[in-house]
Symmetry: C2
Subunit: 321 residues, 2 copies
């Protein structure tokens, strides 16, 4: 994992300076919320994937940081809007933008970021790139709408769940990789492999995230069972419920749908889910997607970037917080 850490660090400077340059080009009143959310940190995973995928397939250096900055800005735009929709007060431990600047400025700054990022991509003059990010924005929005509709809904199937996280989380990661590949001379099969690597990685990323939600707070630093409290039915809970006697499963489902569980009940249920091996099972399901991502990656020509992209999969597999 040494290579991954080093190249993440190396890449961040170039990506951040591209982001900085583009932020300066936003109209003055649209800048503060955008700067706030982009300064709040984050690993810059999406642009990192764009740059590494692009280089792995021989893309010229000049476009990669530009594209990476654009995808990070798009991601930031979705975060600005998300925090309003979810009524989140915090983002990575800091006040969410809308709590500092108000809802209006946060929504509108998000719109400006969206428009700016799409223009940055379009001026590279390749319609495939714009198509790719336009689709990613639409899919992300669609996944979020689906997710809201699935809150406190006990009839959501595993396929519904998969379709939602594919759109909500995985598509933007898919796009990040596809953008890099599209900058290279690689043929359509290789572009497809890059897109598929990003998509499967993204699905696994969200599933591991959903498993971690049930980890003891001593490990993650935050109260476990947040998804249960929000009424989100994710695989660890679904798998647990499927193993309960029908009456008990129905009682629990109803309690979650009707928001009747207090803090203690959520903690107890989370513990039962974790200790019963259902987070482990969820991680095993995620591993199938990481395996699919690795299979796509194996189609890439060997390179130091390919090694790093493989390490991204290990990193996701082994995340503990």
């Amino acid at each position: 994992m040494q290579e991954l850490k080093q190249s993440l660090g190396r890449e961040q400077a170039g990506i951040n300076s591209a982001i900085e340059r583009f932020l300066d080009e936003l109209p003055p009143n649209s800048q503060p919320p955008a700067r706030h959310v982009l300064a709040a940190g984050g690993k810059r995973l999406r642009p990192f994937l764009t740059c590494q995928t692009g280089r792995a397939l021989g893309a010229p250096e000049d476009k990669l940081h530009t594209l990476g900055a654009a995808i990070e800005m798009l991601h930031a735009a979705t975060l600005l809007h998300d925090d309003i929709l979810d009524n989140s007060e915090l983002r990575r431990g800091k006040p969410a933008a809308h709590t500092l600047f108000g809802q209006a400025q946060a929504i509108l700054s998000g719109d400006a970021l969206l428009a700016k990022s799409m223009f940055i991509v379009s001026r590279l003059g390749d319609t495939r790139l714009t198509n790719c990010i336009s689709e990613a924005v639409m899919r992300t929005a669609e996944g979020q709408i689906r997710e809201s509709a699935q809150i406190r809904n006990s009839t959501v199937s595993y396929n519904d769940y998969l379709e939602t996280i594919r759109d909500k989380t995985a598509w933007m990661l898919r796009a990040s990789c596809e953008l890099g590949a599209l900058c290279s001379e690689a043929g359509p099969e290789m572009v497809e492999a890059a897109a598929n690597y990003g998509m499967e990685l993204g699905i696994a990323f969200q599933m591991v995230d959903d498993a971690l939600d049930f980890s003891p707070s001593s490990l993650t630093g935050k109260p476990r069972g947040g998804d249960i409290r929000e009424g989100k039915i994710t695989p660890p809970l679904s798998l647990f419920l499927a193993d309960q006697p029908p009456q008990e499963a129905d009682r629990l489902k109803k309690a979650i749908v009707d928001d009747l569980l207090d803090a203690e009940a959520v903690e107890k249920l989370s513990e039962a889910i974790h200790d019963g091996g259902y987070t482990r099972k969820t991680r095993e399901m995620a591993e199938a997607h990481l395996k699919a991502a690795a299979d796509s990656l194996a189609l890439f020509p060997p390179s130091s970037e390919r090694i790093v992209l493989e390490q991204v999969l290990w990193y996701i597999q082994n995340r503990e917080h």
Copy 2:
């Protein structure tokens, strides 16, 4: 004005069928709010300007309805977000989208519309077009942020007001005309003339709108003085205040800033503003911008479209509701 009415009617069918086609391409859950706001009516003024400007300058027919649909969809996206920011319950007499679909779906549907419209434009393969609409989205957002910051603020100057309406309202109309011109073979001076026509028209449009806010409700069908109630200080009020004794002006400013005027006081003040000739003065100021728009239009080669575009200016000048 007969020509204007006829060509508005003729154009709408083509524009609406293009919009319909693009709406079908949005992901399913993003469609309902978008369809709702686009079905709520409206004159389709922006796409109309795109088509007429384009034809006046000899643009080929094929791109015009596509571009027109894209600009109307962008406009719809801003309306979806606006109604949330302004907490508006109604849009053109019908329930605003967020009241029917919820805030989350309305914001996200707006994001999907934004992304889709920008892609529609970018796939036409001319970066100048994408630049034009990206700038328009950013300016519209910027103008709205400025406007929110100017609510219940008595120190807003006339130049502040002009800058705000230029961004918030006029820039999207400017872009509508510029897009049409960019589709033609016209040189940069002519594109600039088209953009300027749209910009000046847009400024005048907003000023007339702000004047109409003080018209007797018997004429407009809605209570007068809405802007005063919302704490917006527009030219009719500014001009009126400038003619009052300083103490009386200060008292009124303070009452507006502190939101102390009841319905009766707003009605009385609106009447004084209207009957004192301050809406007429505002319309005269708008006429200077219509004149500037006409001067730009005069650079166009003579055509039936140019006549119609001139009639748009008369229409704005003579709007009574």
